[in-house]
């Protein structure tokens, strides 16, 4: 049997799980991110001493919310700029004077969607959006966020304060965007979530543990947004994509942390629960004919996930999906990936032609995956000299020691 949670752990767990929901509702009431955060923090500190004496309340979340509101009344009364907050104060007092009902966490209005749209508002810098989302919805501490992004705590602290100040003063709305703005804003939210995921996913060593948490956090955020915006199918697409990628987390590197390519991964070690969930989400959304780039990328990942081996991969389907992706989001990186699929599905000549085409505008001149892919195609067509040259260039362009080792190993096997 597992040892029971200590009270401290229970409080920490409740605070972590309910943080985003309580904070979002508080911001709605108070109209001020910093004030809401401070009051919630006060409330958690107060929970420590009260719950120690009296045990856990019926609904810890409702308790935290109610206490945070009282802390807000206190803070507003002490505030020198009291006058400007009259409206909020009288609203809080009204809430306080309501007849006591059953304390239940589902009485807390869910404002998390308003919150995430505010945190991912285009008037904020991309990195700030990411940090703010992790802080407010994820409940990660400033130190944790700084650590995950290899930043100094003080710098992250300043970034977050500036952002909260800007939200307060610049007129960034705390609401779900109107229909006309929704697709663009959803995109901004999704790219923030995907950045969080990739930050965790691409980490391979050292602080790997903390950073792996970021992938979990990104998946959790996507689940929340999906539940709140069920008709925005790209949200489902991104969730499926992340689940399918994440299913390979434990087979992507070997015992010494060395990189293992998709071709050589032990497919038995893939997480089939995640694959099943990702695939069933796709089966649900793809027939609804609102296909977007995340759904297509997830579909590509699903073809790999469902293939029993590298040799049996349905490369022509993957090549066709890349064609579709390219039509939606033309880029030389998509062409590059398509060329690799074509090299397996059709012919090396066609694939090489596509690679040349992708490289015409110079965008690939210092793009490591381009040289790795080109080297591979050259090796397979028997041109060892050119293959070696491209591998060396790819090594030169890589800043990841594990990746370098992986590519060097390929040269020795030429």
């Amino acid at each position: 049997m597992l040892p029971p949670f200590s009270l401290e752990q229970t409080i920490e767990k409740t605070a972590r799980e309910e943080w985003g929901r309580i904070l979002a509702a508080l911001v709605k009431t108070l109209g001020d991110f910093q004030l809401a955060e401070d009051c919630l923090q006060d409330s958690i500190v107060s929970a420590m001493s009260h719950w120690q004496k009296n045990g856990l309340p019926n609904s810890p979340a409702a308790w935290l919310m109610k206490t945070a509101r009282r802390k807000a009344i206190d803070r507003l009364r002490r505030d020198k700029n009291f006058a400007s907050k009259q409206a909020e104060l009288s609203y809080l007092l009204d809430l306080e004077n309501q007849p006591p009902g059953e304390d239940q966490s589902d009485m807390i209005p869910d404002k998390r969607l308003e919150m995430i749209f505010t945190c991912c508002h285009p008037a904020l810098e991309q990195k700030t959006r990411v940090a703010l989302t992790l802080r407010t919805l994820g409940g990660l501490s400033t130190d944790e966020i700084a650590h995950a992004f290899l930043d100094k705590s003080e710098a992250m602290q300043r970034r977050l304060s500036r952002a909260k100040q800007k939200i307060l003063l610049s007129g960034i709305p705390y609401q779900i965007p109107e229909q006309a703005l929704l697709p663009e804003r959803v995109n901004s939210v999704l790219s923030v979530i995907y950045l969080i995921f990739n930050e965790g996913y691409s980490a391979s060593s050292g602080i790997a543990l903390t950073r792996a948490d970021l992938t979990e956090e990104a998946i959790r955020l996507a689940r929340i947004v999906r539940q709140l915006l069920p008709d925005q199918l790209e949200v489902s697409g991104l969730l499926a994509l992340m689940l399918l990628h994440d299913s390979r987390r434990f087979s992507r590197s070997g015992e010494q942390g060395e990189m293992i390519s998709l071709e050589n991964q032990n497919r038995v070690r893939w997480d089939y629960a995640k694959i099943d969930e990702g695939c069933s989400i796709l089966e649900d959304v793809l027939p609804r004919q609102q296909v977007g780039p995340y759904q297509i990328q997830a579909a590509i990942s699903a073809v790999h996930a469902q293939s029993p081996s590298w040799q049996e991969t349905d490369w022509s389907q993957i090549a066709a999906l890349y064609e579709l992706l390219h039509a939606m989001q033309p880029s030389s990186v998509v062409r590059l990936n398509q060329a690799v699929a074509v090299s397996h599905a059709h012919s090396l000549e066609v694939a090489l032609k596509m690679l040349d085409e992708a490289a015409t505008d110079g965008a690939m001149d210092s793009y490591q995956p381009y040289f790795a892919a080109r080297a591979d195609l050259m090796a397979r067509s028997g041109n060892k000299e050119e293959a070696r040259r491209c591998f060396l260039r790819a090594i030169e362009l890589s800043d990841n020691a594990r990746e370098k080792a992986f590519l060097e190993n390929k040269i020795t096997r030429l």
């Binding site: 610049s170 109107e178 703005l181």
Partner: protein
């Protein structure tokens, strides 16, 4: 809340008087002003004389000093402004994007401070 929309553009980037583009450009400004007026968003708005007409004033040691021209030479110049009363930044952004200069210059949106007393 009120938003100041400051209209910036680099010298010589917009349509010039006397060219065929200039008439429609001016008309677009007229139309925009009409739109914000009828939507109830207009508080104030003006075009400014070119930056060559600027005078900079400062007071040092109780002495008023004037200087010909802007204090710092910048490529982009403030050409005019609209003061709009909007619901939030999203609405202000929607209107700012309709200001004709936005297609070759840029509009800086700054919320107006509301003093407490």
């Amino acid at each position: 809340m009120q938003f100041m929309c400051l209209i910036y553009s680099a010298d010589g980037t917009g349509p010039k008087p006397g060219t065929p583009e200039f008439g429609p450009y001016m008309k677009a400004y007229g139309d925009f002003t009409e739109t914000v007026r009828s939507d109830g968003k207009f508080v104030a708005g003006d075009a400014l004389q070119p930056v060559a007409t600027a005078t900079t004033v400062s007071v040092r040691n109780n002495k008023t000093e004037t200087m010909d021209g802007p204090f710092a030479e910048t490529k982009e110049q403030l050409g005019g402004y609209y003061l709009l009363d909007c619901e939030d930044l999203d609405e202000a952004t929607k209107y700012a994007a309709m200001i004709p200069t936005a297609t070759h210059g840029r509009i800086e949106i700054r919320p107006v401070v509301v003093w407490d007393n």
